[in-house]
Symmetry: C2
């Protein structure tokens, strides 16, 4: 149990607010969301000023161009955040759904009913738009949120949360969005032990953050995000499709978790496909790191040798490890050993091979003849996502509004005893 008084007080307020939220109708929640969107726009100047302080500090520390881009807000990006909230408002409210219902022989009516989780804690890293996205999803699903963003974006996050709270205040719901202003690791660790106040903790960020949460949290956790994803090109694969899927999976957005990191190629397909595929990847700026057989096949090109650690690495960059395998079994073994259980793809024309791959590969999403890049709440038709779960409990794969709820058995009787 944490003894951090500020956090405990936040937890208390969140619990109280979550009870109000749980009783709110869909119409109430949508009004609150619209007010949040309006408040973002109205407070644009303040948010931009706060963001400028973060950006200046980051520049003076010399962070990477990519990080700086993710951190920077503009009027357009604030408008996009506001639009994002309105899109969440337009989604179907999951709360109240009767997931299952049965009348027992004794007349008891047992109804498994969808209800909010209560208080959701989210620990995330640089991007300030997560503050608004996560808050919107939590509120639409009837929860209160305690948000702890990274220190690089703390001024932006405080300004955004302040605006959202302004919007919520007219409904008395402002404590549904609270931000942890102290971004020390110590306070994050204490937040992970706020049992009894936070019902579920969702870390969003790199492998280090996820590991720390798993080691330290006494609150139930939903792991998200680490994606060491594979494309396996089977011997029966269509060449054009194999090239198109691999190039897309690697290069359409290398910095995200559903991008491919290792390419496995069946030895009978390697001669035909790999040289041209390597050429296309090179054209797209991808550095290749190959196994011995790959190096031999592509000798004369500037391919690098892959070390053992390459198979286990989520590059999140224009780098792809390449390995030639002797069979589908060797491919599945490789994925079992090195995969992170995120998204795995086979390109094949063979029915039995496809069936074997989807049944034996243990991952959140397994693809036949489609890019791993589709693992996404929007692409799966959920509307919006709070993250992609790589664990097996509660939710696996993209998590939408429904994954921010739990169920309650409501049992209607007329005096039944056992």
């Amino acid at each position: 149990m944490s003894e951090n008084k500020t956090l405990i007080e936040m937890g208390r307020r969140a619990k109280a607010a979550s009870r109000k939220m749980a009783a709110a109708s869909s119409a109430d929640k949508d009004m609150a969301l619209k007010a949040m969107a309006r408040a973002l726009t109205e407070n644009q100047d303040g948010i931009l000023a706060a963001n400028k302080a973060d950006v200046d500090a980051a520049e003076s520390k010399g962070i990477s161009r990519a990080m700086l881009d993710r951190l920077t807000l503009t009027p357009q990006r604030i408008a996009a955040m506001a639009d994002g909230i309105l899109e969440v408002a337009a989604l179907r409210d999951p709360v109240g759904e009767i997931v299952e219902g049965i009348v027992r022989p004794n007349g008891l009516r047992v109804q498994k009913t969808r209800v909010p989780l209560g208080v959701v804690g989210i620990i995330y890293e640089a991007r300030p738009n997560v503050t608004s996205d996560a808050a919107a999803l939590c509120i639409k699903s009837g929860n209160a949120a305690i948000l702890r963003g990274g220190k690089e974006a703390i001024n932006s996050n405080i300004a955004i949360a302040g605006a959202l709270r302004d919007g919520l205040k007219q409904y008395g719901l402002e404590d549904c969005v609270q931000i942890v202003e102290d971004t020390s690791r110590q306070t994050a660790a204490e937040m992970m032990r706020l049992r009894g106040y936070i019902d579920v903790l969702i870390p969003r960020g790199g492998a280090g953050l996820i590991r720390s949460v798993i080691e330290n949290s006494t609150i139930p956790v939903i792991e998200t995000g680490v994606g060491n994803c594979h494309v396996y090109i089977d011997k029966s694969a269509d060449k054009d499709m194999a090239i198109s899927i691999t190039v897309n999976a690697k290069t359409s957005r290398p910095s995200v978790c559903n991008a491919a990191e290792t390419l496995l190629v069946h030895q009978s397909a390697a001669d035909l496909i790999l040289p041209d595929l390597a050429g296309e990847l090179k054209k797209a700026g991808v550095e290749l790191r190959g196994c011995e057989r790959t190096l031999k096949l592509l000798s004369g090109t500037d391919i690098l040798p892959a070390a053992e650690e390459d198979w286990a690495t989520e590059y999140l960059d224009y780098i792809l490890a390449v390995r030639i395998v002797s069979s589908i079994d060797e491919a599945i073994e490789h994925i079992t050993r090195y995969g992170s259980g995120h998204s795995e793809c086979i390109v094949t024309g063979d029915y039995a091979t496809a069936e074997k791959f989807v049944s034996q590969v243990d991952a959140a999403a397994v693809y036949i003849n489609a890019s791993t890049r589709f693992t996404d709440g929007g692409e799966f038709g959920m509307g919006a996502e709070i993250g992609i779960s790589t664990q097996k409990l509660h939710a696996r794969g993209p998590m939408g509004l429904r994954e921010l709820t739990t169920t309650k058995f409501i049992v209607y009787g007329n005096g039944q005893v056992r």
Copy 2:
């Protein structure tokens, strides 16, 4: 990460076995379950001899009559265990169910498919029949199980697991049931950190065990069991129904988690109902511990005063705390403060009050006019249960076969890229 070599080797075997199980058909699994049931009966003498060693040791240590009864096996109880396995075999296999399916505008077919969890770890206390029940549920749902029972039953557990493994051996599935023979706390703690080998950990036992697992586990946990359950008698309650439900909830089986521990009575119903109800409870051998108002109302009877800690205690015994409240809100507040989120009951004739109670009480099961004792997999129509979850992630309330599974998105494409 644990460094216990024995455990890691068990984990490796379990992982390999779980992959075989995941590929097994329902028919295969049912044959394996039938073989397990037969093997229990065939090995009856050995199991009884092992159990006698446990019982003798327990007697010499002077454990309670109730504990001793739970520990003791007889030919009838072994036959009941075998029947239990056959009942599990007769249940519907949850694996392979398409939970949801959608065809996206680009033609991708996204199918959320039910798959086994993989390796399930179960840490439990005295009763040896859990070994067989848990193994059967894990196998029917396509999982491998690593079981760690209490030291009091270790000889019985080893003999039971040995018999089950005998039955599984003819299908090459014996490593789907493994038992941790070292019952030290140290080894239990190491089991809780067997990440990468155990996918989900389910503790079944007292509050101390559950707490230890939550503090120490780096594996996702499903909390089970602690039940500080309430019956609230509203002012509009029918007197006979209120008495019948309260007596049933407290006395039909006081040692289980869905038994009531505190009675709350609306002040306007107390005069009419409480004296007769107290009489019935006394007749059933229940000791009452009352708040000041209750003591006053029932003065002259041998009721004891309730201390603050009584409201928070799961007696699991013929003891009931009693409190008179001024309103439904005070009742809900009391339950929010002291309840463990298990099972809560209101006895009422008023529609709005009933609705308020079910919407504001945050528990796995909330009852209108029925005994809390119904929170049970069998009573809810699930057939059998592995435990009752009091957490909000993954499963809440009784957990049957389906709660021992997860899902996998299988995505069928024909070359789609993003």
